[in-house]
């Protein structure tokens, strides 16, 4: 409350830097600020900063769910390097991300550009966002039913066309593409709206000028939309890829990693190691660290490659 008493003098600070007394200017609103940031800082330190540091520490220990472990050096990381299930999970996850992000981003750009050129309709934007509002669990349930071998609508259509029914979630080579598409369904509208927001930053008179010059829509997409959208798209890719690498819910509900580890993504394997096989928190933490390193590397490389901080016309 002491902040309130000297408040009137500090209001002048932004305007009259020179005249405010040195002492007041240095401390500024510190007493009030401390009270304002204290709760959030406690939350940040206790549930974000400390767990991050503790997670790194755990990866060097043999901690389990039941007992605090001791320092064992790089043992967990050696185990990780020799663990075929981990590398399988890594490959499965990469394949998932490539499919998920590739299809999702292409579709999202297509939808966003179409909306940008055709309509401002709020209803259409609302409709394409709808799947994002329901949980991954709900999305997984919906597609378990739609893609069911016997009764699923999709298999009924396939059968009606005279083709063989497909085991979408039960086939080793189809399960990851299937899960990738389920999550495309849930996230493509959200991604499209992100891209759409980026498109709205492009000055409309560029298109007008393009039209006057007789440029086709395709030509304008290549020469106006893409160059100006690229930095924005780079950021969207980083955000969506980080999410994509952490796929878990759909796998947990629909396949539990099966058949035969074909959908055992990293996040699911970490969960299994920590909570159903061995309760090995040390090893699970080492895998988390590995995943975080991968995510950080990809973010940095992508940021550089797409020069996400600058556009071509700046």
């Amino acid at each position: 409350m002491s902040a309130a008493t000297h408040a009137p003098t500090t209001t002048a600070a932004p305007r009259s830097d020179g005249r405010a007394t040195r002492r007041r200017r240095n401390l500024g609103d510190l007493p009030a600020a401390l009270v304002f940031v204290l709760p959030a800082t406690i939350g940040f330190v206790v549930f974000l900063l400390w767990p991050t540091l503790r997670g790194i520490w755990l990866s060097f220990t043999d901690t389990t769910a039941f007992q605090a472990g001791g320092f064992i050096g790089l043992e967990n990381y050696q185990r990780l390097a020799d663990d075929p299930v981990f590398w399988n999970a890594f490959g499965v996850t990469l394949w998932y991300v490539v499919l998920n992000i590739g299809i999702q981003t292409t579709l999202a750009v297509l939808v966003a550009v179409l909306m940008h050129r055709l309509t401002r309709s709020m209803v259409i934007r609302g409709i394409i966002l709808t799947p994002y509002l329901v949980s991954n669990v709900v999305a997984a349930m919906l597609f378990l039913m739609l893609l069911d071998y016997q009764l699923g609508f999709v298999n009924e259509v396939i059968a009606a066309l005279g083709w063989d029914r497909v085991m979408f979630f039960g086939d080793q080579s189809l399960v990851i593409p299937t899960i990738a598409l389920v999550n495309v369904w849930r996230h493509v509208g959200y991604t499209a709206l992100l891209v759409f927001a980026g498109l709205q930053t492009i000055p409309g008179n560029l298109y007008e000028a393009g039209r006057v010059d007789g440029a086709s829509e395709l030509r304008m997409f290549r020469s106006i939309t893409m160059p100006l959208l690229r930095p924005y798209l780079g950021l969207v890719l980083i955000v969506t890829m980080i999410g994509s690498f952490q796929v878990f819910d759909t796998v947990s509900v629909a396949t539990q990693g099966g058949p035969a580890n074909a959908s055992n993504v990293i996040q699911y394997y970490i969960y299994e190691v920590a909570f159903s096989r061995g309760y090995d928190f040390g090893y699970a933490s080492a895998m988390s660290v590995a995943l975080m390193v991968v995510l950080a590397t990809i973010s940095i490389v992508q940021f550089r490659l797409t020069r996400a901080n600058q556009n071509d016309m700046a």
């Binding site: 309130a4 408040a7 009137p8 932004p14 401390l27 009030a32 304002f36 940031v37 709760p39 959030a40 800082t41 940040f44 549930f47 974000l48 400390w50 767990p51 991050t52 503790r54 997670g55 579709l107 939808v111 179409l114 055709l118 709020m122 259409i124 609302g126 409709i127 394409i128 966002l129 709808t130 329901v134 949980s135 991954n136 669990v137 709900v138 349930m141 919906l142 699923g152 369904w185 509208g189 709206l193 992100l194 927001a197 409309g204 298109y207 007008e208 039209r211 829509e217 924005y232 969207v236 980080i242 819910d249 947990s252 509900v253 996040q267 970490i270 928190f281 988390s288 975080m292 973010s299």
Partner: protein
């Protein structure tokens, strides 16, 4: 081409901002535009069809489903699926209708979800708003450094904090409780702080200064000027936070062990796991899925414009 456009809208939207007007003008339907609309229509169909199919299956009976698997309307119309999902059907009724006979306490899970999402939303938004105010409007040494550290928190993948937070919640004795599920995101998220800071920074300094000259302290200014003026942003953030908390699955899966802390997403997963693999109770499963999705869909229906408009802002941090 633009001059021949016969649309009356041209006159109502003169090219004041050359950016907006040309796009609003109705152009002749070309093959390309038709194709574009066709693609958009297909995307919307693919978006909405699964929702319709969920409703249609939920209102069907399991006995009739194999006979009319592609029937666009409910087959053997009944609400038994909903009764099973809500735990209103007796075990015998449930088994007779192709259910698992397992009982689920749907109202309890609904209440648990409401409690968790409400706790997370109210406290997270409030504490984050306080911090955002200190970062946006107060001048104090170290402000920018502390804010940068908060921002760096955005980069930490959630999975990384899961195991240590699980140990922490366990050591606090909060496993299998609703506060245990809510606590890690209840105080702040870096995103919430960042989101609100952007809005607070945009509020006119003059109004705040006028209040300060009238003798209002920082706290009164915050509650009577800043919060009300940022109400739309605060409401938007609250909606997004509520949705996120409601849809969360992995963290509650770790913390919850029994009915007392089971939230809807978990219950749905369990309902699915209990369904016989050979002949799943699709009507019951879809009814449960629909019930679990309904609150978010209703929320969306009520606040669609606000949520849609927030997306462009939230994605790029």
């Amino acid at each position: 081409m633009t001059t021949t456009a016969p649309s009356p809208t041209v006159t109502t939207t003169p090219a004041t901002s050359s950016g907006e007007a040309p796009r609003r003008r109705r152009r002749r339907p070309t093959a390309g535009r038709l194709l574009g609309w066709l693609v958009l229509a297909l995307v919307m169909l693919a978006t909405l069809l699964p929702f319709y199919w969920m409703l249609r299956t939920a209102l069907s009976t399991n006995a009739a489903l194999p006979g009319g698997a592609a029937d666009p309307l409910p087959v053997g119309l009944s609400i038994e699926g909903f009764r099973r999902a809500l735990g209103l059907a007796t075990a015998a009724e449930s088994l007779a209708d192709g259910g698992s006979g397992a009982s689920l306490d749907f109202p309890l899970y609904l209440m648990n979800s409401v409690i968790v999402a409400t706790l997370v939303t109210v406290f997270q938004v409030f504490f984050s708003a306080m911090a955002a105010y200190a970062f946006a409007r107060l001048r104090w040494p170290g402000r920018d450094v502390v804010f940068s550290i908060f921002l760096a928190g955005l980069m930490v993948p959630i999975i990384f904090t899961l195991l240590p937070n699980f140990l922490l919640i366990r050591d606090l004795g909060l496993l299998d409780t609703l506060p245990g599920i809510a606590l890690p995101t209840m105080i702040m998220t870096p995103f919430a702080v960042f989101f609100l800071r952007q809005f607070f920074a945009g509020i006119s300094v003059e109004i705040e200064e006028a209040a300060r000259l009238d003798g209002a302290g920082r706290f009164r200014t915050f509650f009577t000027i800043i919060l009300p003026m940022a109400a739309p942003a605060v409401a938007t953030l609250a909606l997004l936070t509520y949705m996120t908390a409601w849809n969360d699955y992995l963290w509650p899966l770790l913390v919850s062990q029994s009915d007392q802390s089971r939230v809807l997403t978990l219950a749905l997963g369990i309902f699915r796991a209990q369904a016989p693999q050979s002949a799943p109770d699709w009507a019951g499963l879809m009814a449960a899925t629909l019930l679990a999705a309904l609150p978010m869909l209703l929320l969306f229906l009520a606040f669609a414009r606000r949520i849609v408009n927030s997306i462009g802002f939230t994605g790029i941090k």
